[in-house]
């Protein structure tokens, strides 16, 4: 059974052909191919216009690479949330039009469900039940998965997602976007024990909180900048609150710490805080739910420190840890096709009145 998956939930336009939810035949992601050189050029990060430009060539490329024609498809699976509403609309509208004109069944897939099922696209595959920790720029959720369609949310972030904390701290340090790979790079050279940033374990629940960590980094930087300002007149003191750096400007939150050893130490200590919490809470869930299988997915699961520490914890707890390869951890349409296959089999066909939603909890 061949399914065409489409994902336009965030920055990347992606289309993929997957057979029986397990075998990837093609998986095209706009920012990882040279397609955008042919069609796109540099366009704003958030532009849904970019998805409009990319969707046709990307779907075309997915079919061509797989040597599959429309009439061989058993269904089209499209991500309808959560994500950026303008971006989701492009994928959904395209999928609806395609299914209507070619008379192909349409199924709607929750992005988080896609991340869970990315793990079935590679060997070894977990058996049910398992725990799934989804960590990305927009999500930090821990689920118990008993079967396809049978999920229980054990916890989620109460404020910032783990990846968002990386992005915001990276911006505070003046290091740019996306924060994950940048911070990871600096962290390699740093001492993770240099600064004792807080860890919100919230022991009464499986929820997460990373907002306080971000604030702690900001407060640390402010103190450091003051200290440096006293020592050197070349360093700009922080701006007073409500000062606008032109339209779209940030206030006094953009501080720079030019000392690279300090930068490395901040990055390493911050990363340790995040990874400690994610690993520890997963460990608690293993104990509480008596499940010794864990799937780790989402963009932050591309972080090598998290991958390493999660596996070490698995070894200690004699739990199997399943982490998809990096390309399948970050956003991709193959995972949407994989989850879509199960919806097709279950007969959950979506109507042509399908509407995407930015906020869409898995259950």
């Amino acid at each position: 059974m061949l399914v065409l998956g489409i994902d336009t939930s965030c920055d990347d336009t992606s289309a993929s052909i997957v057979e029986n939810a397990t075998r990837i035949i093609s998986n095209i992601i706009s920012n990882q191919t040279d397609i955008h050189k042919k069609y796109g050029g540099i366009v704003p990060e958030l532009a849904s216009r970019r998805h409009i430009e990319m969707i046709l060539p990307v779907v075309d490329e997915a079919l061509k690479t797989a040597s599959v024609k429309f009439d061989e498809l058993s269904g089209v699976a499209v991500c309808h949330g959560p994500g950026l509403i303008g971006s989701l609309l492009v994928g959904c509208s395209f999928a609806k039009a395609l299914c209507y004109s070619k008379k192909i069944p349409l199924v709607a897939v929750n992005h988080l469900e896609g991340h869970i099922f990315s793990t079935f696209l590679e060997e070894p595959r977990p058996s049910f039940p398992f725990l799934a920790l989804i960590v990305s720029g927009g999500h930090t959720c821990l689920y118990r998965v008993d079967d396809f369609g049978r999920y229980r949310e054990l916890g989620r972030t109460r404020d910032d997602a783990a990846g968002e904390a990386y992005d915001k701290v990276s911006k505070l340090l003046g290091l740019g976007y996306p924060g994950g790979p940048i911070i990871e790079n600096y962290a390699r050279e740093g001492n993770p024990k240099a600064i004792d940033f807080p860890r919100a374990y919230l022991p009464e629940s499986f929820d997460f909180s990373f907002s306080g960590l971000k604030t702690a980094v900001l407060n640390f930087l402010k103190k450091e900048v003051k200290l440096q300002a006293m020592e050197s007149q070349y360093i700009n003191p922080p701006l007073p609150p409500f000062t606008k750096g032109g339209h779209g400007g940030i206030t006094n939150s953009e501080l720079r710490t030019p000392n690279s050893k300090l930068l490395n130490d901040i990055a390493a200590s911050f990363q340790k805080s995040i990874v400690d919490v994610l690993v520890r809470k997963t460990e608690w869930a293993i104990k509480k739910e008596h499940i010794r299988r864990v799937v780790l997915s989402g963009g932050v699961a591309a972080n090598s420190e998290l991958r390493k520490r999660m596996k070490e914890m698995g070894d200690e707890r004699e739990a199997e840890i399943f982490i998809p390869s990096v390309l399948l951890c970050t956003d991709n349409a193959a995972m949407i096709a994989a989850a879509g296959y199960h919806h097709l089999k279950a007969g959950n066909i979506a109507g042509l009145d399908l509407n995407p939603k930015a906020y869409m909890p898995l259950l």
């Binding site: 958030l46 532009a47 509403i85 997602a161 907002s211 306080g212 407060n219 609150p241």
Partner: protein, 154 residues
């Protein structure tokens, strides 16, 4: 901008719970069509305050998370509630791209974090809330705009 204008009412919050509480009491006074702009640096408690405002509209606190990623998160409350976060917005044109204007005014209530990013385009009757860190946990909260007398005794 808040700076330099007469500030009608200043509240001091001793921590996240009090910030939520002030948000809750503010939320109780909001009417359909109202837009609230939140001004304050990272970590000043903007999302915390949104949790309080949303609770006043019958939305559970756990359902309010940072909206920096989705930019706009809409809730099917009565009246409908939009949690908007302009942190990632770089240009005016992106406000159109994300469907910003569909959530301002109308019959819903919207709360806008990082409102300064759309400062020159926001409605006249915007209710402005400023959050300033004055200690590790302590925040100074100012509220102004619309019927200012309403904010004197939250």
């Amino acid at each position: 901008m808040l700076e330099g204008r007469i500030q009608n009412k200043k509240y001091i919050s001793k921590g996240p719970d009090e910030t939520k509480d002030i948000g809750y009491r503010l939320g109780k006074k909001l009417r359909p069509g109202d837009a609230v702009g939140l001004y304050g640096e990272l970590g000043s408690g903007k999302t915390t305050m949104v949790k309080g405002i949303a609770r006043a509209l019958g939305i559970e606190e756990i359902d309010i998370m940072s909206a920096s990623f989705t930019i706009i998160t809409e809730y099917d409350s009565d009246p409908p509630f939009s949690h908007i976060d302009l942190y990632r917005i770089e240009k005016d044109s992106e406000l159109d791209e994300v469907g910003f204007w569909e959530h301002i005014g109308g019959s819903g209530i919207s709360v806008i974090e990082w409102a300064e990013k759309a400062e020159n385009m926001l409605p006249e009757n915007l209710i402005r809330v400023g959050l300033t860190s004055v200690g590790e946990e302590i925040r100074e909260i100012t509220i102004e705009g619309r019927d200012e007398k309403d904010w004197n005794s939250l």
